[in-house]
């Protein structure tokens, strides 16, 4: 085999290896949605890139977040749900699933992913998942909601309009 052939062979192998490396399933996490565990929620980042006034905290996985989780975030969420429900709810369950850091509106936020289960006074049940900002108790997103298949669809919740409004 000539030197030229060796050169082409090694070049081809190198390029092939590079392509495999580029296209391999990577072990690192998604750029924006990262799983993380609390390790030190008060540690301040010393990076010069960090913004003024904002305390950037770090997780075990190295992900930084800006919000300050409250110890009683679950109570805040429950209180919020009770305001919405009035006297109609018999039971609220909030079960935690994941703690993770997400990018939202150019801020890295630590969020809690929870399952919320509701039972109303008629014993009807529903559930959904929610992503909560543990600082404010705000529910940022909900998904995986119950799909209801009632026999009498005409008896579902409706409201009667007042046709007087003519702006």
């Amino acid at each position: 085999m000539t030197k030229k052939k060796y050169f082409y062979l090694f070049s081809s192998l190198f390029i092939l290896g590079f392509m495999i490396w580029k296209l391999r399933p990577h072990s690192s996490q998604n750029t924006t949605v990262q799983d993380a565990k609390h390790v030190d929620s008060t540690k301040l980042s010393e990076s010069p890139m960090d913004k003024p006034k904002i305390q950037v905290k770090v997780f075990a996985t190295g992900e930084k977040y800006e919000n300050t989780p409250s110890q009683d975030w679950k109570a805040k969420v429950e209180s919020h749900l009770k305001v919405l429900a009035g006297n109609d709810l018999k039971e609220i369950q909030i079960q935690t699933e994941r703690t993770l850091v997400i990018s939202r509106d150019n801020h890295n936020l630590l969020v809690e992913s929870v399952v919320i289960k509701l039972t109303n006074t008629q014993n009807s049940r529903s559930s959904f998942r929610a992503m909560v900002d543990p600082q404010t108790g705000k529910i940022l997103e909900t998904w995986d909601r119950t799909v209801f298949d009632p026999a009498h669809v005409r008896e579902g919740f409706r409201y009667k309009l007042d046709p007087r409004y003519t702006n």
Partner: protein, 847 residues
């Protein structure tokens, strides 16, 4: 009687005697009145792990007049036992026959009787069987597991068919596809995440079924648990929904849709796969088309399992609520038939209830009939156009359709947003792969796929049809041509698109495209998508968005431009209903509340109001699937990055440059990412961002301008601090990083910031359309958009909310009319105004 006949009789007699001998050798057991077999030891183990089941509902087995009070003894097949599970408890595994090996998820289904805090899985009986007294709670939970397992097994066989074709059929190997090859590595062929032991991605990775839920005439699927629940009928205590296997299959169908929608939301990795933070769903609040698609496909799954073109003959027909799945069903009105003219077409039959055809109803289940009927018609058409052995007609044709559904839902629900796998069928890592080909990007994908651009009849059938061209016409059944496909779709009024949108354009740049083999390139002249054949469009009428507007006030015909809900009772009930359906809106603290609602049919300070814009169709054809958005969008030019204040872009003759509008600058292009106009970590704002919908009018000397609410609150002598704004969740110690000061005064409530309208008749408003047979002005909860109104707003302040509307049979909502390729808008355009008609909602805030 001839000798020959006598001889035959003799033979038959011998056969009977022989059969009795064999049966006696099997130690036949006696059935007691309770259904319990007596005197059986089962010592030979033949009945181990089995039970006697009802194979179908009492309606099918006993006849239509049977019931509703029921004894299931007559419906239970007590001759041939069925395998239930070989587990010691009533649960079973999910076995997905993946290519040449099995992927197994242990204990993926658990069957219970009813829900309680102390619920325990039922143990197998001491005799090794699952045979419990007929009608007992144990009997029903065993039967539920039998039918759920049957449905799952069928689904996995069809998924195997999909995999075998996608990854082994020479026609498709090497081509892009949506159903990922790495499903076994991520576990996303079920509700399971493959996670390290100390993680808790999904609280439960098994499906629980509850045979005896205390729900009145109801059944449900809850993906967050996940669980299936089957209700009862208090008036007839022995009547149960779970007695109808088609209902079990329908609810399981919802669960399987949830699985298919999330195929792509896990990526293999080391030490464990990674999963998107959210999951995709099909359906939202109230009536909307994605929910209708879900109901239609769930009905279709019942057809796959039962081979019958009617759903819930037992559970729902007793209360006049069952549903046909084909036009040939006798429950239908006579105008319907399995002919091109007689199909259950869109949008004519959106509000059609075959149980009460004279009273229209806006409901996802009945609107979903169009989907189920089309899928059954497609199945039958494949049976007649493809070379399928007679004995395999149903199985093979439904495998084709399920393969189409696998591919379609997998694409629709992709939240990782890459939308493409490597040529080795591994997942791209978003860290190293620059492009996104579906649902904008991984940050905004949930918003895009669920709210901004969710599945509609147009979007769903466009992708389904693309997959028909790719897999059916392109390999599995070339006899089912593009024309055949388009004609059938058009018979249903569903040929709502001009191209198959198969040009592989990136979500952010139409010049970046991927080829059929997945190679990505930048093309100065983009490759055009495959166009539909226009001569196939006969029933599917497309209408210009310019003919959609607001109704004018007509006191004679009792027509308003907007309807306002501002009484406490209605608004409180709406908020409760939203919460219970999984939309817990974040109300502001201290600046708005239903306590301020005064029922004066005006927008008043402090109120939470529901707005129903009365949209009018000024065309001569029906408009359908109207979707109205009050989400933030790119309609402003930011003039100051220290405040984020902006000038509204001029898009129509309503908000003009003289009124403070901007015609140039950033208004000439559309933002490619979804960034809200909120403060960054630097304390500054982005130079470009999406804006809340509501502007406020400010007076500058003789000039009045439409400005951002942040500008108004600082300039009009209000000096409102952040804490006095709507949506502020911070305090003196910590900031609220989700707070948007540009919605300080009036804001559309997230979770209730979009609305749907099934259809609007020609030259009518929505209210007039839906009022037919509805004289009391009863509306569905999904028709309203909710706004919070800050209590500190000075009376007389004028607001303009720039809502955006599009609809499914729109001719100019989905592509640029000047583009000869008719290519669909890329996802990023949904940040702007091009796909939409702007609906301006102007109002004064007054006590």
């Amino acid at each position: 009687m001839t000798n020959s006949f006598k001889k035959h009789l003799g033979h038959i007699g011998l056969v009977w005697i022989f059969a009795l001998f064999i049966l006696s050798a099997c130690n036949p057991t006696e059935i007691t009145s309770s259904g319990q077999r007596a005197g059986t030891s089962y010592a030979n183990g033949q009945l181990a792990n089995t039970a006697f089941v009802y194979r179908d509902s009492p309606y099918i087995i006993e006849g239509p007049n049977y019931g509703p009070d029921v004894d299931m003894a007559g419906s239970t097949d007590q001759s041939i036992p069925e395998f239930i599970t070989d587990k010691p408890l009533l649960q079973s595994d999910c076995v997905f026959p993946f290519l040449s090996s099995n992927a197994v998820l242990q204990d993926c289904v658990r069957s219970y009787a009813s829900k309680s805090a102390s619920q325990q899985l039922l143990p197998r009986k001491a005799d090794g069987t699952w045979i419990f007294p007929i009608n007992s709670p144990e009997f029903y939970q065993v039967n539920t597991l039998f039918h759920v397992n049957k449905g799952i097994s069928t689904f996995y066989n069809k998924l195997k068919f999909t995999f075998d074709n996608l990854y082994s059929n020479p026609s498709f190997v090497g081509k892009t596809k949506s159903t990922p090859a790495y499903l076994p590595q991520t576990g996303m062929f079920w509700f399971q995440a493959i996670t390290p032991a100390n993680e808790n991605y999904f609280r439960n990775s098994f499906l629980s079924t509850y045979a005896l839920c205390n729900f009145e005439l109801n059944s449900q699927f809850s993906p967050a648990e996940p669980e299936l629940c089957f209700g009862n009928w208090a008036k007839h205590p022995t009547f149960l929904f779970v007695q109808d296997p088609s209902v079990i299959y329908h609810e399981l169908g919802h669960a399987l849709i949830a699985v298919m929608m999330n195929y792509r939301n896990g990526r293999p990795g080391s030490p464990a796969p990674s999963y998107h933070a959210l999951r995709s769903n099909l359906g939202g609040y109230g009536y909307e088309e994605s929910g209708s698609i879900g109901e239609g496909v769930a009905d279709y799954f019942s057809f796959v399992m039962t081979k019958r073109t009617h759903f819930a003959e037992w559970a729902l027909s007793k209360v006049h609520a069952s549903r046909p799945i084909s036009e040939s069903d006798p429950l239908h009105i006579s105008a319907l038939s399995e002919t091109p003219e007689g199909r259950l077409s869109y949008p004519q039959y959106i509000l059609y209830d075959p149980n009460d055809p004279n009273v229209p109803i806006e409901d996802v289940h009945y609107a979903g009939q169009i989907v189920s009927h089309y899928l059954v018609a497609l199945t039958k058409s494949l049976q007649s156009n493809c070379s399928i052995p007679t004995e395999q007609l149903h199985d093979t044709s439904t495998s084709y359709v399920m393969m189409l559904l696998n591919e379609t839902f997998s694409e629709l629900g992709d939240l990782n947003a890459v939308g493409l796998d490597t040529m080795w069928n591994t997942a791209y890592d978003p860290n190293f792969f620059a492009y996104r080909f579906t649902n904008l990007d991984e940050n905004a994908s949930y918003l895009w796929s669920q709210i901004i651009n969710p599945p509609t009849y147009r979007k769903f059938f466009q992708i389904l049809s693309k997959n028909i061209n790719r897999y059916i016409t392109g390999g599995l059944c070339t006899g089912f041509t593009q024309d055949e496909s388009e004609k059938l779709l058009d018979d249903y009024g569903l040929l709502l698109f001009k191209t198959y949108n198969n040009d592989g354009s990136s979500t952010k740049n139409k010049f970046v495209q991927y080829s059929s083999t997945g190679a990505v390139s930048t093309n100065p002249t983009p490759v055009a998508p495959t166009q539909t054949h226009e001569n196939n469009r006969r029933k599917s009428v497309l209408v210009s968005k310019e003919l959609l507007g607001l109704a004018e006030v007509d006191t004679v015909n009792d027509v308003a431009t907007f309807y306002i809900i501002d009484d406490q009772a209605n608004m409180t009930n709406i908020l409760k209903d939203l919460l219970f359906k999984g939309f817990p809106v974040n109300l502001s603290t201290g600046v708005a509340s239903t306590e301020y609602n005064n029922a004066n049919i005006k927008v008043s300070p402090g109120e939470i109001v529901g707005i129903i814009p009365n949209l009018k169709n000024k065309s001569n054809s029906v408009m359908a699937g109207i979707h109205l958005l009050a989400t933030d969008w790119d309609h402003g030019h930011i003039t100051d990055t220290t405040t984020g204040n902006f000038k509204p872009c001029v898009y129509d003759d309503v908000t003009t440059a003289a009124q403070g509008g901007e015609t140039a600058a950033s208004c000439t292009n559309t933002l490619s990412s979804y960034n809200r106009n909120i403060k960054l970590g630097t304390g500054l704002y982005n130079t470009e961002a999406v804006q809340p919908v509501c502007l406020v009018q400010i007076e500058d000397g003789d000039v009045t301008r439409w400005v951002s609410q942040n500008e108004f609150r600082k300039k009009q002598g209000l000096s409102l601090q952040d804490k006095d704004c709507l949506g502020y969740g911070g305090n003196v110690v910590v900031d609220d990083f989700t707070f948007n000061p540009h919605e300080c005064l009036v804001r559309a409530l997230p979770g209730a910031n979009s609305a749907y309208y099934s259809k609007i008749d020609p030259q009518k408003s929505y209210a007039e359309t839906i009022r037919t047979g509805n004289p009391d002005h009863i509306y569905g909860p999904g028709n309203a958009i909710l706004f919070e109104v800050n209590k500190w707003i000075p009376p007389g302040t004028k607001f303009r909310c720039r809502l955006r509307a599009k609809f499914s049979n729109c001719s100019d909502c989905f592509n640029d009319p000047t583009d000869s390729s008719k290519d669909d808008y890329i996802d990023a355009e949904y940040n702007g105004q091009k796909p939409f008609k702007i609906i301006n909602f102007d109002f004064d805030v007054n006590d």
